[in-house]
Assembly symmetry: D5
Homo-oligomer: 93 residues x 10
């Protein structure tokens, strides 16, 4: 499983609504409205590297109100949890 | 459950080792070595707001090789998954 | 009591008026027009973490003229004063 | 009463200890360890503008472990609370 | 006498005209069009801290063409000159 | 008269002492310890452009504890005051 | 062969389409949609320094949707591969 | 001779045209379209400090398509060449 | 084939030597010493996402003199060239 | 003739001395100590692109006291002057 952490700036007055739209996308496991200079942080989890292009520049960036994205792709994951199992549901791509 | 996304800068030549130390801490659900201007991103998940102080400035910041942290605390979580269940194991605090 | 310090950029020519609107919001204990690269700094004080979402992205960000917010949530408070007592009035949430 | 909001960067591994030292200073009403790119935020409240120099560059900046300060002085305060009364205790300067 | 140094960004094609408008304001002792990333630097000199709010967010920020201000208030003044005398004229506030 | 506004970063724990050293230099009319991300702001006033080199990179930058300077030279001055007269004393260079 | 690496910001909702337009230009050997604060990175390879002006400010910057470019020209190339041969095809300029 | 190096940001799609307009101005000795985060760099050479105000905020900033300028005025010049002679032609101001 | 563009800051006085060390690493197809605020740009090309971790935080970051890396991983590649063929040699991982 | 404008940060207390060392280098036509966040700006003029590598990362970066360089290479030159003639002397490379 490949994980990407996407820091997102949105129109300042539609943060909760845009969070809902992104969370509804396939392969988006979580979206948080957050403190700090970014408005949202989304976690995208895919099985194949190529699928990141469809989800991030392909869909997240095209949602009305998204002004900029800064994606950090995981080189490697370190966890006490079995994340694969935790997020097995819904990870078609 | 309260989630905090912690962007971390470390000594440039000990990234994997520091990731292991942070991932071993209680309430740290995942640590990723990542692309971009940060070296690691950790997800901290707690049940009570007060516990963030013990884990982030209290422990993560004190791990040798951690040079700076930029924490984004979630106001609200949006997800198709039952994250509470997925991360129920190991969340004492 | 959980405290959040919100750094706010507004339209440059309506600073005092926007400060009044924010100060009138529930759980906003103080708003300052300030020197430096931000225009206003608001202090939000709530009893439960979940209420921050309603007040900051939910209301402050939606006030006309607010262009960006950068929220710093307190991990822990250090004070010689009994802040809880000082701000007990009006903290329903 | 004149209020100054001081954003502070400290040595990353001594945040709680430095917070205690600053909170013990006269005219410092509150210190928070916070999320984001700063480590602490202190609120300084004085009766006369001249006293800011003694407290901020004069004392806070000289505490071992303080690496940089960014002070925002309030032009004007907007609040539903009687802050003067709330912080009357201990404001000699 | 309290001095504030205000760094100002203006519309790039009306720098001299905006400088004239600001220099005409009460308590503005000097305005310079300058090199660097700012367009103008104004020096505001008042007798009471409260008057800064009327002049900077109250008037300078409201002049058409002013896009952003970054104010640095003096904690303390160090000079071989008797600045009070030099700027005694016209300092009603 | 040519004016330069010099924004100065110093060692965080010797701000007042360094201000004194700079204010004692010839052609430095005022030095302020200030709020914001800079520690000091100095105003240098000379009669000939060539003298700026001796004072700023030549002397201010060489004072122990000065870490960085960002100089903004005035293109033109706008003022209701007769600044030439106000600062006539002591401007040999 | 002279290589230039061009970091490109585009309209956030037309990243793939703009990548196609740039990749079709002569002397553009590769275009990547990428993670991080830039949207695209293009590699331009020419035989003569003068040709960079036609391709980068002359054509890439003029493609609708390109908002900013930050070009890094190679001083020297270090590679185990024979890049000249690899990119011989199509390098008229 | 006083030299100013002016870093200029322009509309991204009219870089060559704007360069021509600036190069035609009196006392502008050279204009370069350049790599990096700026679009143009102009060298302005004058005999008297006061003339910088007419050329930079007075004319360069007013050319349509110029979005921002960051001027660096030379304190002192170090060169093996006799720059005065090299640029003697056309330096009326 | 997955491509990563790694922007690298090095000790300012050993740029060519560090470029040689990085270029000798497996899966590093090209290294350029470049203009701009970065010192080197390396292109890493691998067949499987997991191999990026070994090469970038695992080896490049550990080369003496490398001070920071900012990696941009390609979502998708757009090119008139058959890059796979051009870089087929030497891509074991 | 290819021109590169090199923005240079140096040790803050040895600006004039470092300027002399750089100006003595072959193909460096001018060095200025300047206002603003950089300390020096050097103009390098060469006949062949390859020579930039020897002069900038090869020599300027290796001068003791040079802390960072940000080079902007000219795509194209626009000037009323015959710069080639003006700088013909001494341009061996």
């Amino acid at each position: 499983m490949i994980t990407a952490i996407v820091l997102i700036k949105t129109s300042v007055d539609r943060i909760p609504e845009i969070a809902e739209s992104i969370a509804a996308l396939e392969n988006v496991s979580e979206v948080y409205s957050v403190t700090g200079t970014y408005d949202l942080i989304a976690l995208v989890r895919v099985n194949r590297h190529e699928n990141l292009a469809d989800i991030i520049p392909g869909r997240i960036s095209k949602i009305p109100g998204v002004k900029a994205t800064d994606t950090h792709v995981a080189f490697r994951t370190y966890s006490q949890h079995d994340l694969e199992a935790a997020f097995a549901i819904g990870l078609d791509a």
